[in-house]
């Protein structure tokens, strides 16, 4: 190929019209160093390209990368979008299941259990000597804050109401029990307690509470209390008042 041919080829080369094959000829031509002085400016690009093509990453590079790929292999085996989405869904379902199972976060449940245990411990009869009245009142009040009560708790409160040495603790227990009036056995226990209580304060409170919750079955107990000679006047008046109010409520509801 002579210099004129090369010049024609170069003209097309600069217009971006040469094929890869033609460019190959040009490269060989310039690599052989036969270029004319006029072609020296053209040689620059070809010489650069030859040099640039020979560049490679440093010798240790491939081994380094392969080592890292091996290391990453295990971690990325669970990669891929489908796997990620599946894992996400699984987690979501697990979350829902857990939420249904516990109804309320697990932490709260644990805390409640701890609280209940503490209340039971403070109010237990055997512990009475070791706990102060204010501790027990606090425990009784904590009962009313529990979101859920069971028979254990109401029985504990009933015991406290009947058996605690301290009047104020007994009063607090009465008040607390009224908030659980719908629990089985609570109303009956309040009526029974009215018969057995000897302290005027507690008797009055019980009468008021029983009237407030409209417990008509308490009328007998109140009448007994009103007729009893051991009852002090204030309590007798209160009992009579309670009986009349409850009977009035009965008449009202009857008419």
């Amino acid at each position: 190929m002579n210099h004129q041919d090369i010049d024609a080829l170069l003209a097309r080369y600069y217009e971006g019209e040469t094929t890869l094959e033609e460019e190959q000829w040009l490269k060989q031509y310039f690599a052989s160093g036969q270029q004319t002085p006029q072609q020296i400016p053209d040689a620059g690009l070809f010489r650069y390209a030859d040099g640039a093509r020979a560049e490679h990453p440093s010798p240790g590079f491939s081994t380094r990368v392969t080592a890292r790929l091996n290391k990453n292999d295990v971690i990325h085996r669970i990669g891929g979008w489908s796997m990620r989405i599946a894992a996400g869904l699984a987690l979501l379902l697990l979350g829902f299941a857990a939420g249904r199972y516990y109804t309320g976060s697990p932490n709260e449940t644990v805390a409640e259990n701890g609280q209940t245990a503490e209340i039971k411990n403070v109010l237990s009869v055997t512990q009475q000597a070791n706990t102060s009245a204010s501790d027990r009142i606090l425990a009784v009040n904590q009962c009313t804050e529990l979101p859920q009560v069971n028979e254990d708790i109401t029985q504990l409160l009933i015991n406290t109401m009947n058996a605690d040495d301290n009047v104020n603790v007994r009063l607090a227990a009465c008040q607390a029990l009224v908030s659980f009036e719908n629990e089985p056995g609570v109303r009956e226990a309040l009526i029974q307690s009215l018969k057995s209580q000897t302290d005027a304060n507690v008797q009055i409170t019980l009468i008021e509470l029983l009237v407030a919750i409209k417990e008509k079955r308490a009328m007998n107990a109140m009448q007994q209390l009103a007729q009893s000679k051991q009852t002090i006047d204030v309590v007798r008046q209160k009992a009579e008042e309670g009986v009349s109010r409850l009977s009035r409520q009965t008449m009202n509801s009857a008419s």
């Binding site: 600069y14 971006g16 400016p41 560049e55 990669g79």
Partner: protein, 173 residues
């Protein structure tokens, strides 16, 4: 895709990816870092590689994007500016040697660096990596006609500027 297949398919291309990264970043270490990032990314996403018409074209695109991201970061720009300054000084310090082949390549490299990014990429893919126009279209998303135009401009600009450098030297500095 297991490691063996991956090595067979991707690692032969790594020379090309490395040269491309070096074209953008002008620094061996940075180019190797980028290449490593690209290879790890490809390996991470190897399950999806089958969906691509050309893994190589995708790898080239990825390398280019990663390089452009790196160049955009502030810290990188400052570092390479300093490197460039020393490079220019080194080149200009020995004008009488410009015609020697190693320096010719260095001067032309410098001239190519001054081209707009797109022209630089197309010139590199065609004249260094010997891509067909179709392959360049696949990598850049530019139509073949526009690739020809950009290539023509890039080649002419480099030749004209190189001519200027040569004249500057022969005029006695």
């Amino acid at each position: 895709m297991d490691l063996q297949t991956f090595k067979q398919q991707i690692l032969p291309v790594q020379g090309r990816l490395f040269r491309l990264a070096k074209l953008f970043l002008r620094n061996r270490e940075e180019a190797e870092d980028t290449l490593q990032d690209v290879l790890l990314k490809l390996w991470t996403n190897r399950q999806q590689l089958d969906q691509y018409r050309s893994v190589e074209a995708m790898a080239v695109q990825m390398t280019r994007n990663l390089c452009l991201d790196k160049l955009k970061s502030h810290g990188y720009a400052r570092r390479t500016d300093e490197a460039d300054l020393s490079l220019i000084q080194a080149n200009m310090g020995t004008p009488h040697q410009l015609t020697e082949s190693a320096d010719t390549a260095a001067v032309v490299r410098q001239l190519i660096q001054e081209l707009p990014e797109q022209q630089r990429l197309i010139l590199h893919l065609r004249d260094v990596e010997e891509y067909s126009f179709e392959e360049i279209e696949q990598v850049t998303g530019i139509s073949i006609n526009n690739i020809r135009v950009a290539l023509s401009r890039a080649r002419k600009t480099v030749r004209d500027n190189y001519t200027k450098v040569l004249n500057y030297e022969s005029s006695g500095y």
